[in-house]
């Protein structure tokens, strides 16, 4: 277990270092989420319900995550660097976990900007929304990273990833919007927890088969 975690740490640090140097994912995510919220601010009629505004927040979060996921395996795909990682004697699920951690970090940074921006443009955000966002992030990156690896081997990867990811993100949006707008969000937060656990296990267990040629 210690060795597994050490491999995950090495790989996650590599992904974060690559992003710090290349800066080709996080700026795109930040620009996208802020732009989306600005557009929604002007597109949504005045005196619209809080439900509609929260729904748009979740749309922005899901599509911002999609921007990050689209680029998650770019380095590994373009120069077949995934081969180098697959040859290494580490458990292959460590590659998935490290990549998920990196995408989670990028998404978290984007949301640190997005949530205050949402509060500025629309309305304040309660603790239940923050918790729902955190839980939703886990689900989004676990399933999204697996799907990104699947899409990476396809020639039509930019098309395949949204087609695979968005249907699976619907429960996240349902749980997130529900937790954000109801008085007692425990049921929706529990649903998001269940989603995270189920898809984390599936993704962790199936990653090796996805990347094996």
């Amino acid at each position: 277990m210690k060795r597994y975690l050490a491999d995950v740490a090495v790989l996650a640090r590599k992904d974060l270092t690559l992003e710090l140097r290349a800066r080709d994912t996080l700026p795109a995510m930040l620009l996208f989420v802020v732009s989306a919220l600005v557009v929604f601010h002007f597109a949504l009629p005045k005196h619209s319900s809080d439900l509609a505004a929260k729904g748009l927040l979740w749309v922005a979060i899901v599509f911002t995550a999609l921007v990050g996921l689209t680029r998650a395996f770019v380095a590994e795909r373009e120069q077949r660097l995934i081969d180098g990682l697959l040859l290494a004697p580490c458990d292959r699920s460590a590659i998935w976990l490290a990549k998920s951690i990196a995408v989670l970090a990028f998404l978290g940074v984007a949301e640190i900007v997005a949530l205050p921006a949402y509060a500025l443009f629309f309305s304040g955000i309660g603790w239940s929304t923050v918790v729902a966002v955190l839980l939703a992030d886990l689900g989004i990156v676990t399933v999204g990273t697996l799907l990104s690896a699947i899409a990476a081997v396809s020639r039509t990867r930019e098309l395949i990833l949204p087609l695979l990811f968005l249907p699976l993100a619907i429960p996240v949006v349902i749980g997130g919007v529900g937790a954000s707008v109801v008085g007692s969000p425990a049921r929706y937060l529990g649903f998001l927890c269940l989603y995270d656990v189920v898809f984390a296990i599936i993704s962790w267990a199936s990653f090796e088969y996805v990347v094996t040629e």
Partner: protein, 224 residues
């Protein structure tokens, strides 16, 4: 490797296998054994019904024209692909395989030393820093150790790729066109490295310049 020449059928046409110059080196213990090996990508049959064996300490030279299946065979031997038919028994663990292919498998945004450190950590290389320094020195990259791999020429990237493949002192070395991109000095350096490593490792090497490694080879697999 079997002493008798063998013949089989590959998708690219005739495949022949036979013993050549150098001694096998091993005591008859097989490291790789393939029986009826086949690989398809969708409807495309790349390899079909291939039989061969490599003894520990052997050196199999793989030759043939582009598209004949050399790279696919080497990816199978490295464990990067799984056969779609037949059997391929590779009797070394994954951490004992060193692979250098068409791509250098190094991150462009990381420096040479960071790339090797990444792989060194994943492979749990003992005395990692000393080993990395020694390889960079030996392959003429020490002065460029802190430069990003993306700024390297094709030849320097190939040298770095060879450092990566040799970092963990693998028992099985799988080299796909290792001379591509290397200048004369780099090619001579690789000649010396292969000769030095010949006694201690098993090789599967594909090349369009077979004369270069033929003196080292114990067996040749020729795709036609």
């Amino acid at each position: 490797m079997e002493g008798q020449g063998q013949e089989g059928q590959g998708s690219g046409g005739h495949v022949s296998e036979g013993q050549v110059g150098a001694a096998g080196g091993g005591a008859g213990e097989l490291l790789i054994e393939a029986r009826g090996l086949g690989k398809r990508y969708g409807d495309k049959r790349v390899l079909d019904g291939l039989d061969f064996e490599i003894e520990r300490g052997g050196f199999m030279l793989v030759t043939g024209p582009n598209g004949s299946g050399k790279t696919t065979l080497l990816r199978l031997c490295a464990g990067l692909a799984v056969p779609t038919s037949g059997e391929l028994d590779i009797r070394v663990p994954r951490q004992s395989v060193g692979f250098a292919g068409h791509e250098p498998l190094v991150y462009r945004e990381l420096t040479a030393i960071e790339n090797l450190d990444l792989y060194g950590r994943l492979y749990r290389v003992p005395e990692r820093r000393e080993r990395i320094g020694m390889l960079l020195e030996r392959f003429g990259l020490w002065s460029a150790r802190n430069q990003r791999a993306g700024s390297f020429s094709r030849g320097m990237q190939q040298r770095l790729s060879l450092c990566r493949a040799l970092l963990h002192e693998p028992a099985l070395l799988v080299f796909d066109e290792p001379y591509s991109g290397l200048d004369d000095a780099g090619a001579e350096l690789l000649d010396r490295e292969l000769a030095d490593l010949r006694a201690g490792a098993t090789f599967v090497v594909s090349t369009h310049d077979p004369a270069r490694v033929l003196p080292l080879a114990s067996t040749r697999l020729a795709f036609a």
